[in-house]
Point group: D3
Chain length 157, copies 6
């Protein structure tokens, strides 16, 4: 392989990697992201979640639904039978913190599903708050935990 990346064949052409010989195992992945924002915006979100105008509730549903569509969005991702998705969203002083965990029993991992769920939840927070704060930034979208599969456990941060 020219590049060292597994998503290209010997000629350098993109391909969906063949996972048919890999064992079916339980796998999970957790990704995190944050949406940095003005303190006033974060305060409005905290207030709304407690009573009315539940920004985080809408973003949670968007993230769960996006996890299921990862293979449609990411060209070389395998479709996987997702067995669980959970999203935690908390509004702090200056940011909304997001953690997405996805599980499967399959032949390849769910890192991309977790990262996609966290990203789309973050984009949804942006969408719902952009009328009051257009300068928000999505930061630190990363994999923090991964278990199952040949490469074993991965923990970051």
């Amino acid at each position: 392989m020219v590049t060292g990346f597994t998503h290209f064949d010997a000629a350098g052409n993109a391909a969906m990697v063949d996972v048919s010989a890999k064992p079916v195992t339980d796998r999970s992945a957790t990704a995190r992201a944050q949406v940095a924002m003005r303190p006033e915006t974060a305060a409005m979100i905290r207030q709304g979640t407690a009573r009315k105008g539940d920004v985080l509730g809408v973003a949670r549903i968007a993230g769960i639904m996006a996890a299921k569509r990862t293979a449609e969005l990411i060209p070389l991702c395998h479709p996987l039978p997702i067995s669980a998705v959970t999203l935690e969203l908390t509004a702090g002083e200056h940011a909304v913190e997001i953690a997405a965990t996805v599980r499967t029993t399959g032949q390849t991992g769910v890192e991309m599903e977790a990262l996609t769920a966290a990203s789309v939840a973050a984009l949804t927070v942006y969408d719902m708050c952009k009328s009051v704060d257009r300068g928000m930034r999505i930061e630190a979208v990363r994999l923090v935990h991964k278990a199952g599969g040949k490469s074993g456990e991965f923990v970051q941060e």
Copy 2:
């Protein structure tokens, strides 16, 4: 409105805002993002793009296609007749830099389309490079320019 957010009605329930009274105008939005990575990973991407194993080419297509599906992913987004999408991706020393620009002639803006295109392109870079660098992070997903519509021009950074 309890919360100040436009995506909730007086009772605090989420709703797709009524844009039917807004004028149809030319609108554009540009969003940026970066994928921070190890220098070796960035070098592999630069090498591949020049010859074989075109990570950035695949990510560009993923971003363009994602822009068209924004309204399916973000719950309260309006479907819009997108008239142009361009993505620039460049691999630097420690990161891939992404800029996505979307245009429409419609009743509401395309910020979410540009942010979604940039995010999905970034996720695709992650997917294609994760076999060599699982610690990559997507950073600084933000709107940098917006034109058209009642709120006028927006420039950030």
Copy 3:
């Protein structure tokens, strides 16, 4: 036309009706539905909505998102630039009542979008409550109001 239905041509074959000669006008449609259930289930929903476990909030998002995908589900529906979607859901003594209103500025009406939004919201209520009440029934999915377009206003019930 053999059948009297507009969705078939002279030979009896299904076709998407040509609306290109129809004027672009503001149109709206409201559909209603109800999910009949045991009083205990309805009580649990009312309790959850007020505090935690917001069944109606999730169903509202599902209905809004489904409205945008109507043309993918209903074979002969035209894709339309939807300009607003609102869903009201209320849990009564024996049922959840659903009303969905959709608006567009286009060449054909949004009845199917409103009916699809109400139906998918009802199905989501069923999904979220089926662990405690498998005998729920979705009843009375119907168009209650329609405005705009050549056929004028329609009011039912």
Copy 4:
């Protein structure tokens, strides 16, 4: 759990239930629905099905295709490898009767797939006949049979 519903965690947040520990078994579900209409409309459908203008044939395809997309529409549904879908549609004196049966070999049931297939078939009947009868109503969308899985057989009506 505050609410008693399985789709919420201890904090009352919606989540896709973890089914990874459940055994893979053969499962099936049958749902029914009806579209109540004027006798003239029902007569037109019966006539069309026999010769030209096959309303029920189009609705059958729409229902089968919708079954496959259930997990995209219903936020907390698991994606499932559907192994069979059949729809029976019959036009009676005052209504079209619909029965949808779905099978899978998986970790959770296909009630929502059967209910979604029946609902979308009913909506398609509405769409194709609305030019002659806008007052049709979709009634009695319900689960009538379910087999496989821990909760055993369910029969209603």
Copy 5:
């Protein structure tokens, strides 16, 4: 432009062409395709269409629905407000002949929608007949007519 193709920018990168400055006009396109098959297979289709087992009716619906999803499948296609889709399918002695016509009022043409409708209808014929004839071939998928837009009328064959 290096290549002469309009879908690449000056640097050779793929992009969705900007059509925002093009006038909104009525446009139509017709594409044709054929599915070559054994005479016995064609006879079975002709028999089924007349009575039971309507292969062409199912393929017609698949083609109409595919036309609406063209922009999801073809990376650089613009989403368009389709105003009509018709498909003609006829089973001859050795082949099924398919003609798909699509109309829009928009800023760019519907060639790809017509070609996609014809292709997916042809694939559906293959799917439904493959249990009796695996050697079928889809041939001569081509644009035969195009009207509207700056480039004027196009007629082939």
Copy 6:
């Protein structure tokens, strides 16, 4: 069965065939297609692929992504856990040659996935080159190899 086709029940109604009793086996399928074009167009593609304006690279991604969506497009296809997709595209003197191979471990074959991947890759080549050559034709879309499953190996041409 009236027609001899497996996709219809005894009454002649379309249905998704029940595969739940079939064994889970490794399966693969390869389909081929070609896009016939003017020599000048083929030359432009060859030139672009080597340097800038990579028509074949974009078409490859489109074909891979389409393979994953086959069950959404072809009404009676089963959703399958695809484990690999590869596409080879080569620009010759008068045509682009396409070969698509898909693998799964499942209860039914992936012929339709391979044929859909080849067709959508061909349509994408058409889309990207239509500004210089509107008379291109997609020819000879056919299954050339199939392995796994009860019917054994199939080789054509």
